[in-house]
């Protein structure tokens, strides 16, 4: 492989029926609905903006404290605070479309009926690039009801969304790493009609306050994110890519730089999401595009898609 100039690298990305200019997106829950980050860079330059999971009804979320800094990461227990689907469709989604962003709308339901209703209302809005089904948020009242922890429940939620989403709008299922076999859940949701996967959501964690001698977070437990979880995410992408070749995967978990993004591509992800590092650097998603382009160029990848799954090849360093 010979090095290329970054400008020569083709970053266009195809994820099922979604065609994106580049493989870099925001991660759900780390970019609200794009407006705030637009102060730091043009959100239309991203491959897609993945919006914070929207529920059917407005939701107040959990009490504070809602976050704790941890080594190279953080715990959050927001509890899906949000405006509800009606306000989202009236205000947030039109803003993204007016600003030429490619919205991928993350939806979260507390029942199959809610997932279906959200799928209908979002899926029928012109301009939505894809749906992301959040079946794996750890910050719900009943941990037992996290759909993604059980292959059967996960499949039911995804089937409900797929059935009520128009053809041509891809449905991606976001999975939890807090399972014995993520491959088993991945197989179940693909069989249920998902067009691709988002790997991974946060890991469930806890921090105990040494002053109060009690759990720090208002919700007790929270979701661990940031660079600390990146190896777990890369492992999940690798395992699922190996077991389900050809399934579009969006990799997410601790991406801070273009080099991190490349690692996910090599493991088998066709696209990546930048999340927690936005809190450290609000320009990070835009920066990662340029860095990824440079990382691909220096390794002689003429197309981002050429790097996807490259690490699975048996001859390291083989020519592309």
């Amino acid at each position: 492989m010979t090095a290329l100039t970054p400008a020569d690298v083709d970053l266009t990305t195809v994820l099922a029926d979604a065609h994106l200019d580049n493989p870099v997106m925001t991660a759900s829950g780390c970019a609200a609905a794009g407006q705030e980050l637009h102060q730091f860079f043009d959100v239309s330059e991203l491959g897609a903006v993945v919006t914070k999971s929207v529920m059917r009804d407005p939701r107040s979320g959990r009490p504070t404290p809602r976050m704790a800094e941890t080594p190279s990461g953080m715990l959050n227990s927001i509890g899906l605070q949000g405006p509800g689907i009606t306000a989202f469709l009236a205000r947030d989604l039109p803003w993204l479309l007016q600003h030429d962003a490619r919205p991928i709308v993350s939806i979260a339901g507390s029942s199959l009926g809610e997932y279906a209703e959200l799928a209908r209302r979002v899926g029928n809005t012109p301009g939505v690039a894809a749906l992301e089904v959040n079946i794996s948020c750890p910050n719900v009242e009943n941990r037992g009801s996290v759909f993604a922890c059980d292959p059967f429940q996960a499949a039911r939620a995804v089937a409900a969304v797929r059935r009520d989403t128009p053809r041509g709008v891809p449905v991606f299922a976001k999975l939890s790493p807090d399972v014995t076999s993520i491959v088993e859940v991945a197989e179940a949701v693909m069989e249920a009609g998902a067009d691709g996967l988002v790997l991974i959501n946060t890991l469930l964690g806890m921090h105990i306050d040494l002053t109060t001698l009690r759990p720090l977070l208002g919700g007790g437990t929270g979701g661990l994110s940031g660079p600390a979880i990146r190896p777990v995410a890369v492992r999940a992408v690798w395992q699922v890519a190996a077991a389900l070749p050809g399934v579009p995967i969006i990799g997410v978990g601790g991406i801070r730089t273009g080099a991190d993004a490349l690692e996910f591509l090599l493991a088998g992800a066709s696209a990546v999401q930048v999340g927690t590092v936005i809190f450290n650097d609000p320009s990070a998603p835009r920066r990662v595009i340029d860095e990824l382009r440079a990382e691909l160029a220096v390794r002689g990848f003429a197309k981002a898609s050429d790097a996807v799954g490259f690490a699975h090849r048996s001859t390291p360093g083989g020519s592309t």
Binding site: G29, C30, A31, A32, E36, L37, Q39, F40, K52, D57, P58, R59, S60, G61, R62, P63, T64, P65, R66, M67, E69, P71, S72, G73, M74, N76, I78, Q81, G82, G84, G218, G226, P227, R256, T257, T276, V277, I278, F279, N280, D281, P282, S283
Partner: protein, 303 residues
């Protein structure tokens, strides 16, 4: 250039420049002030956009730092670009790994700055009587505020309080900036022995105060609001909530605030605050989601 033209040029820039910037700042100086550290960072463009009550979010460490979350600080002072680049100044209490890192910077070190952020203090349109109450280094944004108030022919009576003298910030500067200064310390090491709300009722009555501005710990803000409300004064509080991003995307810094429609919402203190009308904050319910809050499940909103 005469002072007059400099001021008018600055106004023009301020009108044109809106929204926060992200600037790779350079430390100009770190000075010890009592128990605190006074950090001056060269960060072009921040000054021209800053109004009293705005804050900055500083990153900790470099681009590989394990401390990902930005630390939020009220802006103490700004200087627009002149012969030197524009600067922003904050007061840091080094009580954790992030603030200790910031306090141990040296001249020419890099610190990434995002700002100015948040809603500033609302300024009266009439020349009214104002009290400015600061707890500890919470006094930092009040000096710029006092200057703005006096430009509008308002009076600015300052009350500064702390546990002890080393934790007072700006008592000397207050003598220059304010119409009058009252100091309280819990241990009596300087000023009146007690807390800021001890002399406040007398001060509000004596100067017939219309607006009470405050910045400091939540408990103090609650008590100051209560005194202001009893006196019939309008209350503006700059809150301290733990933030992860400072720019409005993480949803961690929420607190229950009553809207004009009388509905309580969990609102972000970084973008809808940090300055709130004191009587709109549900001080008693901070750390909870009170029953009836917008978006609570119907089952928990029963009276």
């Amino acid at each position: 250039m005469t002072r007059g033209t400099a001021v008018s040029r600055r106004r023009t820039t301020a009108q044109a420049a809106r929204g926060p910037l992200q600037v790779d700042g350079e430390v100009f100086s770190v000075k010890r002030v009592g128990d605190y550290f006074h950090l001056t960072i060269v960060a072009d463009g921040i000054a021209e956009r800053t109004r009293p009550g705005n804050f900055v979010a500083l990153s900790v460490g470099d681009h590989t730092s394990a401390n990902l979350l930005r630390r939020a600080f009220s802006i103490y002072r700004v200087k627009p670009a002149g012969i030197y680049g524009g600067t922003v100044e904050v007061i840091v209490a080094a009580h954790g790994p992030g603030t200790s890192w910031l306090a141990s910077r040296h001249r020419h070190d890099r610190v990434n700055v995002v700002g100015p952020l948040g809603r500033p203090f609302a300024l009266p349109k009439q020349p009214v009587a104002c009290a400015l109450v600061g707890g500890g280094y919470g006094s930092a944004p009040l000096f710029g505020l006092a200057e703005k108030l006096r430009e509008r022919s308002c009076t600015a009576h300052m009350v500064l309080g702390a546990s002890t003298e080393a934790r007072l910030f700006g008592a000397l500067e207050a003598k220059r900036a304010a119409s009058s200064v009252t100091v309280t310390t819990v241990d009596g090491s300087v000023g009146i022995k007690g807390v800021v709300t001890d002399p406040l009722p007398t001060l509000l009555a004596r100067h017939d105060i219309d607006v009470v501005y405050s910045c400091g710990p939540m408990g103090m803000l609650r008590a100051v609001t209560s005194v202001a409300t009893q006196h019939g004064a309008w209350s503006q509080t700059a809150v301290e909530e733990a933030m992860a991003c400072g720019v409005g995307v993480c949803m961690t810094c929420v607190l229950p605030v009553v809207g004009d429609d009388n509905i309580t919402r969990m609102v972000r203190s970084c973008v809808e605050g940090p300055v709130f009308a004191g009587d709109k904050v549900r001080w008693d319910a901070i750390g909870t989601v009170p029953a009836g809050t917008y978006g609570t499940p119907v089952s928990s909103t029963r009276p």
